[in-house]
């Protein structure tokens, strides 16, 4: 099985053959991964030990060397399809409510073109007004919820396409 992992701005090709041998970026590595607790691993690479924690799963964020890094994984099939499902950049972006709250305002309409960082909506939660911003530039292809609605955490609010 072959995977491509994007970590922050960096890409790794991870390959594991049926014998269990592991190749990273075409180099065979002696790897020993031990799970310490539910979201905590220690990975030994050629004798050197590195600790990795899984901070969140969706989106996938990892903790390594005392800091956080966003990760994306694509398998062979997804790579063949151009990485659409676990997109590597120019994919469709679903904007979801990060937590339950009240959608106070929508600042865009369907068809609007927005820049990366543009404010899309205001969600009131935890007694604060929170601006939801565009993670990347795109066109608002769909608005799923009306302003004034109460939304659950994870609810789809709108969709951006490149």
């Amino acid at each position: 099985m072959r995977y491509e992992v994007t970590l922050g701005g960096r890409r790794l090709r991870v390959e594991r053959d049926p014998s269990g041998a592991l190749t990273v970026d075409d180099r065979v590595r002696a790897v020993d991964a031990t799970q310490i607790a539910r979201d905590l691993w220690t990975v030994t690479l050629d004798g050197r030990s590195v600790e990795v924690a899984v901070l969140t799963r969706d989106p996938l964020r990892l903790w390594v060397s005392g800091d956080e890094v966003a990760a994306e994984v694509a398998n062979e099939r997804e790579l063949a399809l151009g990485g659409a499902t676990r997109g590597t950049g120019a994919a469709r972006q679903e904007i979801r409510a990060p937590m339950p709250g009240l959608l106070k305002a929508l600042h865009v309409r369907e068809g609007d073109r927005v820049e990366r960082g543009a404010s899309l909506a205001t969600l009131e939660a935890m007694k604060m007004e929170n601006e939801l911003r565009a993670p990347d530039g795109g066109t608002v292809s769909r608005i799923a919820v009306a302003a004034g609605a109460k939304v659950e955490g994870g609810a789809l609010l709108l969709v951006l396409t490149p």
Partner: protein, 496 residues
């Protein structure tokens, strides 16, 4: 006043735990209260007794003053500690407590009223000879705000006259921003404090937020214990505090101390209080407001002075005189507090909610962590996003920062996005590290220009865990090499 033997703690989270600790050390029995969202919470389990007070929304539980006082009366408490936030600066609650015959751990109701309304606090400070920021009285409507802003000159800060903690504030940079800001601030102030009144104040662009801790007893003794620089903020919410302030000279410290004591004396203050000031680049200080309660960041003052501020609060509340004079207050070394909040710094500090799946506490020399976390603890949406406070002490600022860096590196909070990545990056950022910062710091320095650089082995290790995590199978404790994970992942991927 009589000796406190049993106390009701009208709060939750890390501050309720903090107060329980000191009470236990003093032999005072503790009664906790909890909302339905907090049934398994740490403060519930550490208290001697704990009773439910209502559903998750604060208005029906931690803000339900009458219910809370009823628990205190029923369980034979002789005092109430309000912590910070919630009802801690609510004079009506303090009156309710006093009417029930319980001691309120905080200033008298009249003092709360005089200082809690900010325009009144400003008048009081001015009368005591303390400089205040140019500003207005409470404003009737938007046109009045517009007139006041024109008089003072933009940018101005639109602030709720009631409440505290930076909620509902708006920076207004010009006339065209006023209408939107007025509507937003009115709404937030109303929903957060039940009081919608606003006023405007001159906004200083490159100032530091420096506050001074004071303590007053019922015998007329008032002391100051040192300052805290709280300039590292976003949306007027503090993220980092330190003492001594990197830009505070001995002269300025003494001046702030004297000003804070003058205001406290003029107000007839009793118990712990914090006078907040803005200090400009030339060392000129103007008084902003008085927080009439324990401050979130009080532990850095405790580490520097060796005092237990909660123990002092309880002594003062039972009528004892302060056990030391101003001359005996010794400050040693430097201390810094990092607020670990359930907010996502990579998404504009958006609050997050969920469940903490893993919490690894840092420890060792000079490290104190005040928290109410455990693996599995829920992060409810209803309350403040503060999860833990990482507090580090060192004989010098350099050592305190070095300890904070290594403690942050040891800390893991998984399950919800937290402010930890902000702290990891900020602690090594040159302007912060050298103490050159003001309240504009976060806006001008976050997000950082360059992404995190992983070394090769770290990247490979993270990449492998990323692939193993992709497999949906429930994790097995102690599993080696993730053998079955690889197989599961391969199987699942083959099926897609």
């Amino acid at each position: 006043m009589k000796r406190i033997r049993r106390i009701l703690i009208a709060n939750r989270g890390e501050i309720a735990v903090r107060i329980i600790r000191t009470c236990r050390e003093l032999g005072i029995a503790t009664v906790a209260v909890y909302s339905d969202a907090d049934r398994g919470a740490l403060h519930v389990r550490l208290a001697d007794e704990a009773y439910p007070i209502g559903p998750a929304p604060a208005r029906e539980s931690y803000l339900a003053g009458e219910r809370i006082v009823a628990v205190g009366t029923r369980t034979g408490c002789d005092a109430v500690h309000p912590g910070y936030g919630f009802l801690s600066e609510n004079a009506d609650f303090a009156a309710l407590v006093a009417d029930a015959g319980l001691a309120f751990v905080g200033p008298p109701t009249a003092v709360q009223r005089a200082l809690g309304e900010k325009t009144s606090a400003r008048r009081l400070a001015k009368a005591a000879g303390v400089a205040i920021a140019e500003g207005s009285d409470a404003l009737a409507d938007e046109p009045a705000a517009r007139a006041a802003a024109e008089r003072i000159g933009y940018p101005v800060l639109l602030k709720p006259a009631g409440g505290g903690g930076g909620k509902g504030m708006r920076i207004v940079r010009g006339p065209d921003e006023l209408a939107l800001a007025w509507r937003g601030a009115t709404g937030e102030a109303g929903s957060a404090f039940g009081v919608a009144a606003l006023f405007v104040e001159r906004y200083l662009e490159h100032a530091r937020h420096v506050e001074m801790q004071i303590f007053a007893d019922t015998h007329g003794n008032i002391v100051w214990l040192g300052e805290r620089d709280c300039s590292i903020q976003r949306r007027q919410q503090k993220l980092v505090e330190e003492t001594p302030g990197p830009a505070v000279s001995d002269e300025l410290r003494a001046r702030l101390g004297a000003s804070a004591v003058a205001i406290a004396r003029a107000a007839g203050y009793v118990n712990a209080g914090t006078a907040e000031f803005l200090v400009d680049q030339d060392g000129r200080a103007v008084f902003l407001e008085m927080n009439t309660r324990l401050q979130v960041e009080h532990p850095i003052t405790e580490l520097a002075t060796g005092l237990d501020l909660v123990a002092l609060q309880l002594r003062v509340a039972q009528g004892e005189a302060l056990p030391f004079t101003q001359d005996a207050v010794e400050r040693r070394g430097a201390a810094i507090e990092l607020r670990i909040t359930a907010e996502d710094p990579s998404a504009g500090f958006l609050p997050s909610a969920g469940r903490v799946s893993l919490f690894r506490e840092p420890a060792g020399p000079g490290v104190r962590v005040d928290h109410a976390l455990f693996a599995g603890s829920p992060v409810p949406t209803e309350y403040d996003p503060l999860l833990a406070k990482l507090v580090c002490w060192g004989p010098t600022r350099e050592v305190a920062l070095a300890r904070a860096r290594r403690a942050v590196r040891e800390t893991i909070v998984a399950g919800v996005p937290t402010s930890l990545p902000f702290h990891a990056r900020t602690l090594v950022e040159p302007d912060f590290a050298s103490g050159r910062y003001d309240t504009g710091y976060v806006a001008s320095h976050w997000p950082p220009p360059a992404p995190l650089e992983l070394d090769d082995d770290a990247a490979v290790a993270a990449g492998i865990v990323a692939v193993l995590t992709r497999a949906s199978r429930a994790p097995a404790h102690g599993e080696r090499n993730g053998q079955s994970r690889w197989d599961t992942a391969a199987r699942e991927d083959a099926l897609r």
